[in-house]
């Protein structure tokens, strides 16, 4: 067992999990909305990429130019038209509605594409690797995914802490009613937040589709991974989410090294251990009120 290799591969896998988690973290952080359909939106993005390749003949990665705007528009419309109506003091309606959306997406995809396992191909880059000292070979594509995750989180960090829109997001997250007094239109702002969440969901979905196989039922387990990354990292902390994704990835890589059947279970066990030892995650947002 090459420990270093496991650590590196696990970390890179964690980058993908962090990307899975970003959209979920945004919608919860800004609107207190738990999007049960999040995993299915990742898979929907993957299928959208597939359609773009088949119908437009695009390169796998170039499909992002189509998939990202499409998913962002869907996110805006969905939030403005449906999800805003579910938000309130009761947390149950958004859970039920997004659960329903999850069922609709899964069955819609099944209807349209069948239960076949799909894959997006991006040519030779999928199998290229770089040899590192210590007998570790790093895949180029997982490295790219990891870099995309880091850049994404960095970009969101700038959006949140350096822009007017980011200030409005944080203000609305603190106190939506007072935010309205500042001239912030909550319905529009929330729709924008969901659109941004969907940008990263689309990104995650297409990269996921190039990295591994998927089918219409792949969503729920991605939702679980995303949840685990967010909770391990600590709610409301984007860098924490990256750390959570990496920890989850490493745990899964170790599990898989023990026995292929242990991969998923090892991730869940790591998640439970963190939950027991640090219920608010590794890097909870500090806020003294």
């Amino acid at each position: 067992m090459n420990w270093l290799s496991i650590l590196v591969q696990g970390s890179l896998l964690g980058g993908l999990y962090a990307l899975f988690a970003v959209g979920l973290s945004l919608s919860f952080g800004i609107m207190r909305l738990v999007n049960i359909a999040h995993g299915d939106f990742i898979v929907l993005s993957a299928f959208a990429g597939l359609v773009a390749v088949r119908a437009l003949g695009l390169d796998a990665i170039a499909t992002l130019l189509v998939v990202i705007p499409t998913m962002a528009a869907i996110g805006y419309a969905l939030q403005r038209g449906v999800l805003n109506l579910t938000l309130g003091s009761n947390i149950l309606p958004p859970l039920l509605v997004t659960f329903g959306i999850s069922v609709i997406i899964q069955n819609g995809l099944l209807q349209g594409f069948g239960a076949d396992i799909q894959r997006l191909h991006w040519g030779a880059i999928e199998t290229q690797s770089i040899a590192l000292p210590g007998g570790v070979a790093v895949g180029v594509f997982p490295l790219i995914v990891f870099a995309v995750a880091v850049v994404s989180i960095f970009a969101l960090q700038i959006l949140f802490y350096r822009t007017t829109l980011g200030r409005a997001f944080r203000a609305a997250s603190d106190d939506p009613e007072t935010a309205e007094l500042m001239g912030i239109d909550k319905r529009h702002l929330y729709a924008l937040a969901m659109a941004i969440a969907m940008v990263f969901t689309a990104l995650a979905g297409v990269l996921f589709a190039i990295r591994t196989t998927f089918d219409p039922a792949s969503g729920p387990i991605r939702l679980i991974f995303a949840f685990e990354a967010v909770i391990i990292g600590g709610l409301g902390s984007l860098w924490g989410t990256l750390a959570g994704g990496i920890l989850l990835g490493i745990a899964q890589a170790f599990g898989q090294a023990l026995s292929p059947t242990w991969q998923i279970l090892a991730g869940h066990i790591a998640f439970l251990i963190v939950l027991v030892l640090r219920p608010s995650g590794l890097f909870p947002r500090q806020r003294d009120e």
Binding site: T164, L181, M182, G183, I184, D185, R287
Partner: protein, 232 residues
């Protein structure tokens, strides 16, 4: 010119009626106090004016236009800002970010970050700190500053003195007088009657959701307020 006029304003919390046919007028450039006991409907009145409570369109008129049906985020764009009860600063924003978010609606005017720091120098010294690190009085200043950043024509202040030391209250009201002198119209809601009446030209006394008394502050025998205040 009349800046704010409410006509038979009614407001409800669910089935509970909190305001009954309130008629209030505020002239441009004037400072008006609204006093009354706890639960008299003062805060409800302000919430109805800024669009946080549903009312019929013509019940609230601002600058001659009905605004009773408008949302809070549209009303602030017209030039009505509120300093909410309990300050309500955004805890995850710094002092400066709290002030900047006040300008979110993008109304042009002479209130800028620099001018707010002139009015409240202590905020400038603490600009980069979290809003939660401020003392109560400083938080109140930040809340006033945040409201001013929207360049309002009408500024509504809800219980500025709540929980503050007398010397701090005096300080804040002195700055507020500066704001009024520059032409901003003020509506001051207070439980501290003398403080409110000293700062204002006219007052309304609310009692159980109705206007019990209204008069100019100058030369009014304040002992007459007791009955309107307590309903005895």
């Amino acid at each position: 010119m009349t800046l704010l006029r409410t006509r038979a304003l009614r407001a409800f919390y669910g089935d509970f009626q909190a305001l009954f046919d309130i008629d209030v007028t505020v002239e441009e450039g004037e400072t008006v106090a609204i006093i009354g006991a706890n639960g008299a409907g003062k805060t409800t009145f302000l919430r109805a004016v800024v669009g946080q409570l549903e009312t019929a369109p013509e019940m609230v008129e601002f600058d001659g236009k009905p605004i009773g049906h408008m949302t809070a985020h549209d009303i602030v764009r017209m030039g009505v800002a509120m300093v909410p009860e309990g300050r309500k600063l955004f805890p995850s924003l710094t002092v400066e970010e709290n002030l900047r978010i006040g300008a979110y609606c993008g109304r042009p005017g002479h209130w800028t970050l620099e001018r707010i720091y002139e009015l409240f120098p202590v905020l400038g010294e603490r600009a980069r700190l979290p809003a939660t690190s401020l003392s109560g009085g400083q938080q109140q200043m930040a809340s006033v500053g945040r409201a001013l950043m929207s360049n309002p024509r009408l500024l509504l202040c809800d219980e500025l003195s709540l929980g503050l030391a007398p010397v701090v209250i005096r300080d804040i009201y002195a700055r507020l007088a500066t704001v009024a002198r520059e032409g901003t119209t003020l509506v001051i809601v207070e439980q501290d009657i003398n403080r409110a009446l000293d700062a204002s030209a006219r007052f309304y006394c609310f009692q159980e959701g109705r206007v019990a008394l209204t008069a100019p502050c100058q030369g009014f025998d304040r002992s007459n307020i007791t009955a309107a205040y307590f309903g005895t």
